[in-house]
């Protein structure tokens, strides 16, 4: 027996009575980064849900008396853009759009990716077909995919989300497949198979519930990626169409007068960054909390 196994055995047997879920929660609560990022996310989601009520102005409302007003201008906390539109209001509604796209994209990726990943990991015959499919999808990088999608179906929030989601499918398939492969080789699954359980039953009752944690971690990685993806697409004019507020279109618009009104270019970018950062930090904490090897040196 090696020292490493000796070390992992020692702490593993200590809190044996605590269940997986409560242990994860306990670890998360004890990690200040997890708590802070979770709070930021909660605020962001609440703001997004109640965005129309919280925004001081309608996002498209112009105020030609107050164009390019700097932050701190009375009535415009974060200033205005070239048409006198309130930057704060547009950021609030733009963040809402970002989260909508991210949620829809990740939902799409999971709905298609999880079953395919399970099947690829569980049935050898399906594996090579799905692997080729994944290769093929990977050969069309995200932007090309989104560009094609926008060209065929038109540029819109929904289409951008679906294009981003499709681009994220290979990643989901890969992690779910490898976890399914791992779970399949475990004793309890083998026991279920010996007991005559059907493949569908084994997949649904044994493999899927145990793969939840990988799926969860993958989702926390995919969400910030989708937020950034939406910003890129809207920036290029392939996502949400102006005048609807989106953080990406705000940046594209601000590019023209950035030298005179840097806040209009800097602030939406910061908003994107904070959203993505909060998801990434929370995702990291979650992964650490779920990792049974977290105690290794």
């Amino acid at each position: 027996m090696s020292v490493d196994t000796a070390l992992t055995q020692v702490p593993a047997s200590a809190p044996a009575e605590a269940s997986q879920g409560s242990r994860v929660l306990r670890r998360l609560r004890r990690n200040p980064l997890a708590v802070v990022s979770f709070c930021v996310l909660t605020v962001a989601v609440v703001v997004a849900v109640f965005a129309p009520l919280l925004a001081p102005y309608a996002p498209e409302q112009t105020d030609f008396a107050n164009t390019l007003a700097p932050p701190g201008t009375p009535g415009h906390l974060l200033g205005t853009d070239d048409l006198g539109r309130d930057v704060l209001s547009r950021i609030i509604l733009g963040s809402r759009a970002s989260l909508q796209v991210a949620a829809l994209a990740v939902f799409t990726a999971l709905v298609i990716g999880v079953p395919l990943g399970l099947v690829a990991g569980y049935f050898r015959a399906a594996d090579s077909v799905i692997s080729r499919l994944t290769d093929l999808l990977l050969a069309f990088p995200f932007l090309i995919l989104a560009v094609g999608f926008a060209a065929i179906r038109g540029a819109s929030l929904g289409n951008a989300a679906v294009a981003i989601g499709i681009a994220q499918i290979p990643g989901v398939i890969r992690v779910v497949r490898s976890d399914a492969l791992r779970l399949k080789s475990l004793d309890f699954v083998a026991a279920a198979v010996v007991d005559g359980a059907s493949d569908l039953w084994v997949l649904r009752r044994h493999i899927l519930p145990n793969a939840t944690s990988v799926v969860l971690v993958q989702a926390t990685v995919a969400i910030p990626a989708a937020i950034l993806g939406e910003a890129v697409l809207s920036f290029l004019g392939l996502g949400i169409q102006p005048p609807s507020p989106s953080l990406g279109t705000m940046l594209a618009n601000a590019q023209q007068f950035a030298a005179r009104a840097p806040w209009a270019a800097v602030l939406p970018g910061l908003a994107i960054m904070i959203l993505a950062l909060a998801f990434n930090v929370f995702g990291d904490s979650l992964r650490d909390a779920l990792d049974p090897k977290a105690n290794r040196r």
Binding site: M1, S2, V3, A6, L7, Q9, V10, P11, A14, N295
Partner: protein, 352 residues
């Protein structure tokens, strides 16, 4: 008062390795865990000592702590003197100079213990390049000799091979070649044969014995396989839950185990002189406990057939065994309030 001359055994050469009061604790998420508690151990030149015990008894941690090979979460107290030089708390450069040159290791898993992306020759040569300042060519040349020394056929071709191209037994021989490259004074073999087939085990043990005979290397064998102990060791140390519970010459321990734990281990094991085989530890009900701190009690009391109230209220010290018969070449000591005394070791039926 007339001074009598001390018996021969006490004027032997000073020990190459002298461990005093060694304790190891690990910091973990849920508090600290005591893995080794107050271990005393010495190794005479050319001596082969076995440490035996179940998984988690602290034998591997003891072995790793000797050259400071534990992770940072480990805290080591006490003293480890290698040829008089203190290693506990020594500077990293001192430890590095000692590792591989004066004290060398052989690990359990010859597959994972060798780097998969370097040739075995390179891995053997590396030690010589570091400690003997040989050039890469000279070191590779020596590596060929070393592989031949540990019984690897056509060594000149083998040096160019990668670990996955060799069998388990061959890999373990490579590990040994690597360990003895600089003729270390002390060789620590942590479960050297556990991962190997029974037929390969004997060969590996022969190589180790041969090294001791030819170079006077002292060897510390860590194992849970009493067959290995019977086959190769001069003395044996029995560990339980981080403490030494008994030590004696091999023949002694096999004939008259004093501690009930040792007796349990032995009840289904071979006699000295028989080759290592499939014999594994007799099943003793229960598990080695995980301890946050070492209690003032016998840690084996929960599993012991002879436990009394005293066992749970005070830790028994390691003292000479109460035996009528001759002690032999090596002292026989036991940490037990109710040692088995002159009773012979139990048979399988008796213990079950």
């Amino acid at each position: 008062m007339t001074a009598t001359a001390p018996p021969e055994s006490l004027v032997d050469a000073p020990p190459v390795l002298d461990v005093r009061d060694l304790s190891v604790t690990f910091r973990t998420e849920t508090g600290s865990v005591s893995a080794v508690d107050g271990v005393n151990l010495s190794l005479a030149p050319g001596e082969i000592v076995g440490i035996v015990g179940e998984s988690g008894c602290g034998k591997s941690v003891t072995a790793m702590s000797l050259a400071g090979l534990l992770p940072r979460s480990a805290r080591i107290d006490g003293s480890v003197r290698l040829q008089g030089q203190e290693l506990v708390g020594a500077r990293p450069s001192t430890l590095r100079a000692a590792r591989g040159r004066d004290i060398a290791y052989i690990f359990q898993e010859p597959m994972s213990s060798l780097n998969p992306v370097l040739t075995v020759g390179r891995q053997v040569a590396e030690v010589l390049q570091v400690h003997e300042r040989l050039s890469r060519r000279e070191a590779l040349e020596r590596a060929v000799e070393l592989l031949a020394l540990v019984g690897i056929p056509s060594a000149r071709e083998r040096v160019k091979h990668y670990p996955h191209q060799l069998s388990g037994g061959m890999r373990q021989r490579v590990m040994i070649a690597m360990a003895v490259a600089c003729s270390p004074k002390v060789l620590i073999a942590d479960e050297p044969t556990t991962a190997l087939d029974v037929t390969v085990q004997a060969g590996i043990l022969d190589v180790l014995r041969d090294l001791r005979d030819r170079f006077g290397t002292s060897i510390l064998v860590i194992t849970h396989d009493l067959g290995v102990i019977a086959d190769i060791a001069d003395r044996v140390v029995v560990m339980y839950a981080g403490r030494i519970v008994e030590r004696a010459g091999v023949q002694r321990l096999f004939d008259r185990p004093q501690h009930h734990y040792a007796a349990g281990l032995l009840s289904a094991s071979p006699t000295p002189g028989r080759h290592a085989g499939t014999h594994r530890l007799q099943e003793i009900p229960g598990l080695v406990p995980v301890l946050e701190a070492q209690p003032d009690a016998c840690t084996f009391a929960d599993r012991c057939p002879a436990a009394t109230a005293r066992c749970s209220s005070a830790a028994p010290p390691l003292e000479p065994a109460p035996l009528a018969a001759d002690v032999g070449d090596h002292p026989h000591e036991v940490a037990c309030w109710h040692p088995r005394g002159d009773r012979p070791r139990p048979t399988v039926e008796e213990h079950a």
